[in-house]
């Protein structure tokens, strides 16, 4: 998948990612210029009213963490790669890139999904929430706060996926039982094995919810 890692030169700001990018990749990327939506690629065959987008980069506006952001990506770029490599929203992590580990979990219209397994262009018009959104009035959201309190992470790489999946589970059912929360986390994996600490965090969160806290 390294062939979708390059970034089109639309974004002016220099980020850590820009800095780390190899000059070779940058040169290749400048060769591809973004199209405007009006010029959406290839003319559709005469009997069809559906115009194709791409294969050149297509201009895309996404709703990420309540902000409207614009970029240009090829159709093959996943939501995960668009967020991380084009929009610098790096909470979601790229681990398996095959929809099995959960590190890339984000909420799309309130539901947890694997952002590595959704095309960026498919997320157009939907509300995307990543771990970065788990701030409640300047205060850390209760879910990641419980992870901190109970040390429910070791290397921490899977954590953004876990907290998003757990937040989505509590949003869906604020009175969920610990067993239901565990079921909601069954699409995420922690190779450090911090599950017992997560259980402690879940126990406290479920207790709080029961008391209406």
């Amino acid at each position: 998948m390294s062939d979708t890692q390059g970034r089109t030169p639309l974004e002016a700001a220099l980020s850590r990612r820009d800095f780390l990018r190899t000059t070779g990749a940058a040169a290749a990327a400048t060769a591809a210029l973004a199209e405007t939506p009006a010029a959406f690629a290839e003319a559709a065959p005469a009997n069809l009213s559906v115009k194709g987008m791409g294969p050149q980069p297509i201009k895309l506006t996404l709703d990420v963490n309540d902000a409207s952001v614009t970029t240009a990506v090829e159709p093959r770029v996943t939501l995960l790669d668009a967020l991380r490599n084009y929009l610098d929203v790096t909470g979601c992590k790229r681990v398996c890139d095959r929809g099995t580990c959960g590190a890339c979990t984000v909420m799309v219209d309130g539901k947890p999904i694997y952002s590595c397994t959704m095309l960026a262009v498919e997320a157009e018009g939907k509300k995307i929430k990543t771990a970065e959104s788990l701030i409640d009035g300047g205060k850390l959201d209760a879910v990641p706060a419980a992870f901190v309190k109970y040390d429910a992470q070791q290397c921490g790489f899977c954590t953004p996926g876990f907290v998003v999946a757990m937040r989505a589970a509590f949003d869906k059912n604020p009175r969920a039982t610990p067993a239901e929360i565990e079921e909601a986390l069954s699409g995420n994996i922690c190779r450090c094995g911090t599950y017992q600490q997560m259980r402690d965090a879940i126990a406290e969160l479920c207790n709080k919810q029961k008391k209406g806290g």
Binding site: M1, D3, V50, G54, P55, M118, A184, S186
Partner: protein, 335 residues
């Protein structure tokens, strides 16, 4: 993955018009949980990807209250999560909601769709390896027959390619006598789910009988109040494929099972209808003894490969447990 042109039609007719009449150059994108994986591995390399998100086939409806109040019509775009959580479906078809709710994890179920589950590609590791020229990728050899085959078919007679059909909804829908409505360039046609699948043995075939330019619109399940259940044997509680699955449905009156259907999943290149097992139970009360006997009958004719004889026993167990569950008997295996 290879880059492509992305289309987002607004109607099913537009989607079908965009499809080529041969496999490989165009692909339909629903949840994407299978297609994107295949593209990343260069197994699928379409020039055009046709997204179904705006086509409007994601509803469940109960067909015309006056005409056929007993039919459940599921839009092919319904997600597995929506199917698993639907109250009416849970009551009528616990086999279906159990099977849908056991697929993958929550994220997969929020993305994956009914149509996608039926049309997904198989999970054979030789097929999924870009560099292995197996039968389904234009080669002249099935590498699983003499290779690593512990998760492959046990009903292998007459099959050059020994994949197992990957759909867990398929055996259930066949047991429930469901039909699919598909749209092609010449219009709509209906086919029984029992006739929907096919054992492929070349690159120009898929695991189902649909043409390359056909699209599944709906799946209709009649509701003759059948007892039904699906039971999977798996390594893991979640996020795993079944080793063996049994889906059963039957009428149950006066402690007699009639109209019995027993369909096995993950044991053959297509869902495997176990007629001998159904016959063994026909007209009998569902007890541990009769369920066991049906289970033994279901395994008849199995010709396992070098590493998967263990699946033969699992078939018997899965059928027995599915039957006892459907009949509301005690689940002796749950302590």
């Amino acid at each position: 993955m290879k880059n492509f042109t992305y289309y987002r039609p607004k109607t099913a007719e537009q989607a079908v018009a965009l499809l080529d009449d041969k496999w490989g150059t165009t692909e339909l994108l629903a949840g994407g949980t299978d297609l994107l994986d295949l593209q990343k591995e260069y197994i699928a390399q379409p020039d055009k990807v046709i997204a179904l998100r705006d086509v409007g086939i994601n509803q469940l409806r109960l067909d015309g209250v006056d005409k056929k109040p007993d039919d459940f019509i599921l839009g092919a775009g319904m997600t597995l999560a929506e199917i698993a959580a639907h109250g009416g479906l849970k009551e009528a078809f616990p086999a279906l909601t159990t099977a849908a709710g056991d697929i993958g994890g929550p994220q997969i179920r929020n993305m994956g769709t009914l149509g996608g589950n039926l049309c997904q590609r198989n999970r054979c590791w030789y097929f999924r390896d870009e560099h292995t020229p197996c039968l389904l990728k234009g080669g002249d050899k099935c590498f699983a027959i003499d290779g690593e085959n512990r998760y492959h078919a046990i009903f292998t007679q007459g099959h050059k390619c020994v994949i197992v059909n990957p759909s867990t909804l398929a055996p259930v829908l066949i047991a429930l006598r469901a039909t699919a409505e598909v749209l092609g360039p010449k219009g709509k046609r209906k086919l029984k789910l029992a006739d929907f699948f096919h054992a492929p043995s070349s690159a120009s075939e898929r695991e189902h009988v649909l043409k390359p330019n056909e699209l599944v619109l709906t799946v209709t399940i009649p509701y003759p109040k059948l007892k039904n259940a699906s039971y999977e044997v798996r390594h893991k509680q979640s996020y795993d494929w079944p080793l063996v699955q049994a889906a059963v449905a039957f009428q149950y009156a006066d402690n007699k099972a009639t109209d019995v259907r027993i369909v096995l999943g993950h044991v053959a290149p297509t869902p495997h209808v176990a007629d001998a097992a159904a016959k063994a139970l026909e007209g009998k009360e569902v007890t541990e003894a009769t369920a066991s006997a049906a289970g033994e009958a279901a395994a008849q004719g199995a010709m396992p490969l070098s590493q998967n004889a263990y699946k033969v026993k699992l078939v018997s167990v899965a059928v027995k447990r599915a039957l006892l569950t459907a009949a509301g008997r005690k689940k002796y295996w749950e302590v």
